[in-house]
Amino acid sequence: MAGLELFQRMSVEQVAKGLELHPFEIIRILVADGSLSSDLRLDASSVERVRVAGGLETWWASNPSAAPGHDVTLALLRELLQKVLARGYVEPRGVRADNLFRGLDTEYQRGLRRAVNALIRGGVFMSSMSATGLTLSVAPAREADLRLFVVEGRGPVSHLWDQD
């Protein structure tokens, strides 16, 4: 039998889980967009507005076939960095940090997050806090290093990753 869900608009929590975004972020985006309903319920169009207004992107359609581990994380990292460069997120263009991981299961995200943190500490990524949370962009001076790592898997960036 069909449930009540057929008729009910979604709760903030449901939308947050669907979008892999903290509920408070959803609230901030809806307030900025002027579309927060007084009953805190969202219909499909509101969810889409959150996605667009918040600049949410899902970069991973599925998890890798191999189990999480160092090699898988390394492969994921190169693929991620290739996506970053292909989308042109070099300073001053920035991307929401959570976009980098959306679509991956937590276990894969964990390794990738550690690697991205190492790149932030190593000055490859520049980070800044804004209303939409942490934003990342590639430091222009490190773009060539990053390309070398993405294409050939070597260079200074590979050392940063090794050290973490």
Partner: protein
Amino acid sequence: MSELANRPAVIAVLEEIAQWKSRADAEFNGSMADVQREEGALRRSIEEAQRQLVALAARRSELRDKQEMVALGAETRERAALRQGLADDRGIVEGRAALLEAALGAQERALRNMLRDPEVAGAVEEYEKFVEVEASLAVLPSGYRRAILDHHDKVRRRLEPVIAASNAGPPNLGLANVGVGVLFAVDPAEGVPEALVAVLPVPFAVCRDWAERREDLSSRFAYRVVAAISRLLTAVGAGEAPIQYTDVAGCLAVQVWLGDCDLQGDINERALEEIEALREEAAELSAAGIELYGLWVRAAMLADEEE
């Protein structure tokens, strides 16, 4: 010396001068004695006054120490009272959250019973089928499409009470209203604020463990205040200010860095207005008999007490 029959005039003058000097000397000696007496008295007064000044300085120091202790005591008591108030308010919100969840559960069970009615269940099934094929309607011939849409309209009208009940507001718990506070502070307290903090009487878990815990009244309380703070920031020209969520005495605290913003308007007044507006807007808080208020305190009162 023999007496002169006629004393020279000069001698009389000299004698007169000697008498005059003698009188002046006597007068001088008398006056000097007065001066010395007065001087002595004054010196004694000064010494007494100095003793009194020393005593007063000691008394002043004692009073200041005492006052400092009073200030420290007041600060400790104020901090403890605010912490206790937060804990009490949090207890109220959590207690009423449990009651509201129970009432919502009963509301949902009643709705599910409605769905068990064969006539309603049939209509729901038709409605569901329509939702499944809705996206592909465009490719159907217009006459056929029109017929399906007309039929769906009828089904929808039959289900209107169910749809309305499914999206009805929370049931009123019928409890006495109780005031629950959100604490606000800015730092520094004087001049242009660089940071804003709001502490909510809800567990920090609504933020940290949101994915594991069920959304409840505490969560929605937090959503409301986060929304109010977002509106407040936009209103004072700080819409882009970064926000962090932290744990203050087990409660959720919203911290905003304002140091990079050019603030316009009175943040204090505006914050209270936004909280007041929530009283009208937040149906779930009204249903649970919770009356929200905002209270400005000194930032130091929200920090942990220094050892």
